[in-house]
């Protein structure tokens, strides 16, 4: 996007007045909006994801639900989570949520990763894995509050949704967005998506026929917000949607570990090496006694 700005028109020949749109700045941050209230569970996004990323269809297990498989996998980034929910009035309803990487503003995977360059966060908010640099330690797996990164035991690397960074970089929408037939998936700048989500949530709350008073937008601030937004029927119970955490957290131990224990510990451990070295330089060896007679003691 930064490159596209160089092609912004500065002046126009023979044009009356100012240049239209001159100086307008688009938001750099992008976001994916998932309106779960209009999802029909068709799984077109799952197929589009598998196709674009050139993944083979993988084996799955049948667990008496409509869900393709229990969780996302290293070669299955995008999964509709199906939950059959009984409403307070006794009626049943499907809660269907498209599960994928949330592209957190403060990514737990990135915090946990010790390998230089294995995880990057772009200015537009996409969090991407660089498998060439990955050492397969799987710290990111436990660092993620959404249980998204998955380990491939064959290549010994970790994979997850890239938010189609390759497509977005070329000005295209992610593959899942392109495939959605109901318009429940939207893609644009974070500001636009946030506004659209709020509008939709207000519409749901104020619906005259079937109002959803708890409808709201999921953009958890405990991790600085995400670059995947959800419009939920009931924002007070995100756990109903296949275990979406209400208050996702990065464990404090990661901060303690990365910024305190690691550097201080290593320095202390190496101080011992320095210590014994100078002990020898200062005092010399302790010989079996009696040692050869010392000529004279030098200070």
């Amino acid at each position: 996007m930064a490159i596209l700005r160089t092609l912004e028109i500065k002046s126009i020949s023979g044009h009356p007045g100012t240049v239209p749109g001159r100086g307008a700045v688009r938001g750099l941050e992008i976001a994916k909006l998932v309106d779960v209230t209009t999802c029909i569970g068709c799984k077109a996004c799952e197929v589009a994801c598998v196709e674009w990323n050139d993944h083979p269809f993988r084996e799955t297990v049948f667990d008496n639900t409509y869900q393709t498989m229990p969780t996302t996998e290293w070669n299955y980034y995008n999964l509709i989570k199906f939950n059959e929910h009984q409403r307070d009035d006794g009626a049943l309803m499907w809660l269907m949520r498209k599960d994928q990487c949330m592209h957190c503003e403060d990514p737990g995977c990135l915090r946990a990763c010790p390998a230089d360059g294995a995880i990057v966060q772009y200015t537009n908010g996409i969090v991407d894995f660089n498998q060439d640099k990955c050492i397969g330690c799987q710290y990111c797996v436990s660092g993620c509050p959404f249980d998204i990164p998955k380990f491939n035991p064959t290549t010994k690397k970790v994979y997850k949704c890239t938010l189609c960074s390759d497509r977005v970089g070329q000005g295209l929408e992610p593959a899942c967005i392109k495939a959605c037939p109901t318009g429940c998936l939207h893609f644009g700048t974070k500001d636009d998506m946030k506004a659209l989500a709020e509008t939709r949530a207000a519409q749901l709350r104020n619906d005259s026929l079937f109002p959803l008073p708890n409808a709201g937008v999921y953009d958890p601030q405990s991790i600085g917000g995400t670059h995947v937004l959800y419009v939920l029927h009931d924002i007070t119970k995100p756990e109903l949607y296949g275990g979406l955490p209400a208050n996702p957290q990065i464990a404090f131990s990661y901060t303690l570990w990365k910024y305190v224990a690691k550097p201080i510990g290593l320095v202390v451990a190496l101080l011992a090496l320095l210590g014994v070295f100078f002990h020898y330089i200062f005092n010399g060896p302790k010989l079996p006694q009696p040692e050869p007679r010392a000529r004279e003691e030098e200070l």
């Binding site: 330690c137 290593l266 202390v268 014994v276 020898y280």
Partner: protein, 276 residues
Amino acid sequence: MTTSVERFDEKARREFGKLGHTTVHEGELLRHPVYTRFLHWTVAIFFFLGLLSGLAIYSPWLFNWLTPLFGGGPMARLLHPWFGLMFVIAYLLQFLNWLSLMRWTRGDKEWMRHLKDYVKGEQKLEPEYVGFFNGGQKLQFWEIIVGAGVLLISGLCMWLPELFGRLAVAIGYVLHDISALIMLFGIWIHIYLSTVGQPGTLQSMTRGVVTRSWAWTHHPAWYRERTGRDPREDYQRAVEGQAGRRRAAEARQSDASAAEPESEQLPKNAPVTSDK
């Protein structure tokens, strides 16, 4: 429990004694039998394999250059838990082997109180109560027992995250690293004191023997127990012997230099050999 451990230990020592042997020369004492030496070096090998592969995972931005030793980062990550497991198993056997020698005694408490003098190295002879192991050695032994336990438990949490859950893994990283770094701290001291810091110590773990003078200097109570002789008396005798030899050498030298200057072969600081 204790007796079965002792029987197992006894048997292992006997079997390893058959596999190898230890030659104790005149003026030397047997310190570590074949079984102990085997365990020590097995522990050491797996400690360093674990350390080097662990450092590569711990901070790739500092230690990525270590990963080719193990076939790259992912391979280092794959092998590291196995190295750790082997280290723990080998150390467990060493624990059983040394348990009776590592009991904490009043003498060790006393030794720890005088740690400063030990570090300064001002007293040439260790206090008379120091037995097979001194307080510092025992402290390190027990530190590694506790540390290896922490490494094992936190390591298992990280190895099988689907079994123990996210929180256990997150806490595991911190404990695993801290425990490993405490051990790394200790290993420098261990290597230093057993090689250049106290000459004559290394051979106790290679050939299995030490000189008598080494024994009465560093572990007087063990010397007494082993030989039935008084460490301080033998030390005094060695000092006198040394002085006597020096006088004799000087006398010979002055005689010889008066007559023939060529026999100035005997170095003045001839290495000390003990009487017995």
